[in-house]
């Protein structure tokens, strides 16, 4: 598929989405569209609403107002910042995330993630990096059209970060749409094509990555980039 063709249709759209708790508006009148086949990075300070936005777009929370449309449930996956690990072996957990794969395919995914020695290890005994890699390959193996990644490399070692970034790049090349959050500016510059910058539950700037990092329009984005 040519870059032009795949970048021209929106895979997710949100229109005037707001999400409130009793005394706080956590997502404030969010409207956006994510183009198919792109890597979009959601940036912002802690508490800006990045994770909540991903959760809303993925359907984990239901906003009080607004409309979100995206691919059907089984065509989108999300990898959480702290993976939800079931009480079973790494292999069984992978099988739960992505059922129906044969043993050889499962083992090749584990080999790719250098987790082949951990197939029978209880998933909850894996290290932070290992469990993040496991959650990622579980999501990728099911070949979703849309993948949400919530700070997938936070607190991970260099090797794990490199593996995850390689997988993201490969998935993107195969046409998958990726929406992710990160606090790592270098990573955001390396991976992203589109940037959504948030502050206090609002989108304050959207731009292509090059423009955002070289000439941010808003003061909030300028201050943010000076910090990171």
């Amino acid at each position: 598929m040519s870059d032009h063709a795949r970048h021209n249709t929106a895979i997710v759209t949100a229109t005037h989405v707001s999400f409130r708790t009793d005394n706080q508006t956590l997502l404030n009148d969010i409207s956006l569209h994510i183009d198919r086949g792109t890597i979009t990075m959601v940036l912002g300070h802690n508490g800006a609403g990045k994770t909540l936005l991903l959760s809303a777009l993925h359907g984990l929370i239901t906003p009080q107002t607004g409309k979100i449309s995206g691919p059907v449930r089984h065509k989108q996956k999300m990898v959480f910042q702290k993976p939800v690990l079931l009480r079973r072996s790494a292999r069984d957990y992978f099988n739960y995330l992505c059922p129906g794969l044969d043993d050889a395919t499962i083992e090749s995914w584990f080999e790719k993630a250098q987790l082949d020695s951990r197939l029978s290890t209880p998933a909850r005994q894996l290290s932070g990096g290992e469990s993040q890699k496991l959650a990622l390959i579980g999501a990728l193996a099911s070949q979703p059209d849309l993948l949400f990644l919530d700070e997938p490399t936070a607190h991970l070692d260099f090797e794990s970060i490199r593996f995850i970034e390689t997988q993201i790049t490969d998935a993107h090349k195969s046409g998958m749409t990726i929406v992710m959050t990160s606090h790592n500016r270098a990573q955001a510059e390396r991976l992203s094509e589109q940037i959504i910058f948030m502050e206090n539950g609002k989108i304050v700037e959207t731009a292509d990555a090059k423009t955002f990092f070289s000439a941010p329009k808003t003061d909030a984005a300028k201050i943010y980039l000076n910090h990171y």
Binding site: L60, R73, H74, V84, R88, L97
Partner: protein, 235 residues
């Protein structure tokens, strides 16, 4: 009677595997294991349902089952007695003064325990797994299956807790079982009867067996918890 005499008689009865004593132990185990199986068969799905679904009357069921936790066994015995006596609504079953009525009473007695403990375990797991379930589009039935499977170790300890409660019960089973020799005499009712007759030897022998069972249940429960906590399979 010398203080140690009951202990001596008890050990000689146990070592000789006295047939009547063994029969009582066998019947006690059978009744209590049946009661635990029935209470888990009902209690676990109810616990899973209460933990994973919101529906009208849910809170009322929780309050009722929590109230039943503190229900005195003799009251349970009395209610079952009224239900299964000839003039009661279940009189046609003819189970009064049989092990079936005793198993029923024990089931009613431990059912609130299995519901309350399993609900607690399932609620913990459900809130932990909720994001994943939604993300993967897991159906309600798959959700319950996952909760039950992942709580398997905790459920074993719940079963042990229910068994410990059932086997040591006396008030309800003496009312509905009648403590009839070779028919409905279990360890606890025999202890009560033999003590009142001054036959402390057999009472002590059964007391030792009951204590040993309680010890075994606790050791097993501790071992299972510690072992599986290490493997990250605890809840």
């Amino acid at each position: 009677m010398e203080f140690l005499t009951p202990f001596k008689i008890a050990f000689s009865l146990l070592l000789a595997a006295d047939p009547e004593l063994m029969g009582i132990i066998r019947l006690s185990m059978l009744i209590s294991l049946s009661a635990v199986a029935c209470s888990l068969a009902i209690g676990l799905p109810v616990g899973a349902l209460l933990a994973s679904m919101k529906f009208p009357g849910r809170q009322a069921i929780i309050i009722l089952s929590n109230t039943l936790l503190s229900m005195p066994p003799v009251v349970v015995g009395l209610i079952i007695y009224i239900l299964v006596s000839q003039s009661g609504p279940l009189g046609w079953t003819n189970i009064l003064y049989t092990p079936y009525a005793m198993a029923l009473a024990q089931t009613v007695l431990v059912l609130p325990i299995s519901i309350a403990l399993s609900r607690q375990v399932f609620e913990t797991l459900n809130s932990e797994y909720d994001r994943l379930f939604i993300s993967l589009g897991i159906s309600r039935w798959q959700r319950i299956k996952t909760l039950v499977f992942d709580a398997r170790i905790a459920l074993v300890t719940i079963a042990l807790a229910c068994f410990g409660r059932a086997i040591s019960e006396v008030g309800a089973v003496i009312i509905v079982g009648g403590n009839i020799r070779h028919v409905s005499r279990v360890m606890t009712t025999t202890i009560a009867l033999e003590t009142s007759k001054g036959e402390l030897g057999i009472a002590m022998a059964l007391g030792i067996v009951l204590l040993s069972i309680a010890l075994l249940v606790n050791v097993a429960s501790q071992f299972i918890s510690a072992h599986f906590k290490k493997a990250g399979l605890d809840v």
